[in-house]
Amino acid sequence: MSETSLRSAFFTVLKRDLTLAYRTRTEMFNPLLFFIIVISLFPLAVSPDPKVLQSLAPGVIWVAALLATLLSLDSMFRSDFDDGALEQMLLSVHPVSVIVLGKVLAHWMVTGIPLLVLSPLLAVLMHMPTDSIPALMITLALGGPILSLVGAIGVALTVGLRRGGVLLSLLILPLYIPVLIFAANAVSNAAAGLPIAGQLYFLGALLALALTLAPIATAAALRISLR
């Protein structure tokens, strides 16, 4: 097994999952629509007052992004588990963690990046100061992949259970809390004109940690689930 074939396996999985996402694209819009609806309901339900919305905005946008990701997680391994494709991946000559990383990257490109692209629009809707919008996008760019990576561990553990939805949320949400705290705090600070480097460093460190360890944990969890 050479390095080039490992790379080609990674990109084949990535391309495969992106193709699958494109061919079932109506499913892809669900989390995105959820994200937009939740945020756009706040001005109607709470208050249209820009001051109130401004103070709520970082938290609301991040909570909505987190829940939208949670909604989309189950699809990461579900159909592959049902039709036996996951078995074939576990029986591949390549390390399962590399295949998992390809799948997680595809998941983030399909759910994380659309959230990232839409966020400035929703930030304007929530009357966020213009100069804090870059901070929001940076936190989503750093935090989004963490949500997908950590979420993959939870999905891998629960994919064999028929009704693993509630369990998945219970497993994953505590691990999402640090990301939520640092990210929402960074955006609030940016809106108040305070430095945000500290929070971004923490998010970066969490991303490095998740990127290196989560695929290994996910691969182990998949093996347990398929037993």
Binding site: T12, R16, R23, D83, G84, L86, L91, S92, V93
Partner: protein
């Protein structure tokens, strides 16, 4: 249909041997099988028989390392399969009851993915393989429009691409028509006669010479 070109890479130079010692599987306090011993060498096929629910599928999943046995060991060339995982995965191909064909992808795309997972260079074109399994003209239609039997043919096409010596097949004849069954059978017989190894669960009799076919009957 000629399928003799699918010669396993390693059959002649490196000896390959699968040994199973004292294999036991217990599911939910029910003993599926206990103390199973057998070995398989190139040029041999093993047919596992038994009534529904007797543990045939569990046994195949155990043999390919997906399920852990309750007791006993599975040795590939004398070493436990967990210890020589990359070599064993390269030498083995498994087609389960759920064959892993993605409904949204075309047969061609399905084979491309299988090829990348298996890390082999095909000795024939993917289109050629699809033609051999009787899917000429269906290369670029989503698999969801294909019938169950046609999907299984795509999965079996994976075997034609692979250079694995050991094929582990769970009910390979399911959903195939008479002609398809004959094709698959000749494919299996060919593989064994060329020094390959086949383990399958099926009630379909295989036309192999004496000494090439072993049978295990799992009685509940």
């Amino acid at each position: 249909m000629s399928l003799a070109q699918n010669l396993p890479d390693s059959s002649s130079d490196t000896p390959a041997k699968l040994e199973v010692k004292g294999l036991t599987c217990i599911r939910d306090d029910r003993v599926l099988f206990r103390g199973l011993d057998f070995s398989l060498e190139p040029g041999q096929a093993l047919q596992i028989e038994g009534p529904n629910g007797s543990g045939k599928t569990t046994m195949l999943r155990t043999l390919c390392g997906l399920t852990l046995p309750s007791d006993g060991e599975i040795l590939w060339n004398g070493e436990a399969i967990e210890d020589v995982r990359p070599e064993y995965m390269a030498a083995m191909d498994f087609i389960g009851h759920a064959h892993g064909i993605k409904k949204e992808l075309t047969p061609l795309e399905n084979l491309q993915v299988a090829l990348a997972m298996a890390d082999t260079n095909p000795n024939q074109s993917l289109e050629g393989v699809l033609e051999k399994v009787g899917l000429k003209g269906f290369e670029d239609v989503p698999a969801i429009t294909l019938s169950a039997g046609q999907c299984r043919r795509v999965a079996l096409g994976r075997l034609l691409l692979s250079k694995s010596i050991l094929w582990i097949l769970d009910e390979p004849f399911t959903a195939l028509d008479v002609q398809g069954q004959a094709q698959i059978e000749s494919m299996l017989v060919n593989h064994v006669e060329n020094g390959g190894m086949v383990i399958l669960t099926s009630h379909h009799p295989l036309a192999l010479k004496d000494g090439m076919l072993k049978t295990i009957n799992l009685r509940p």
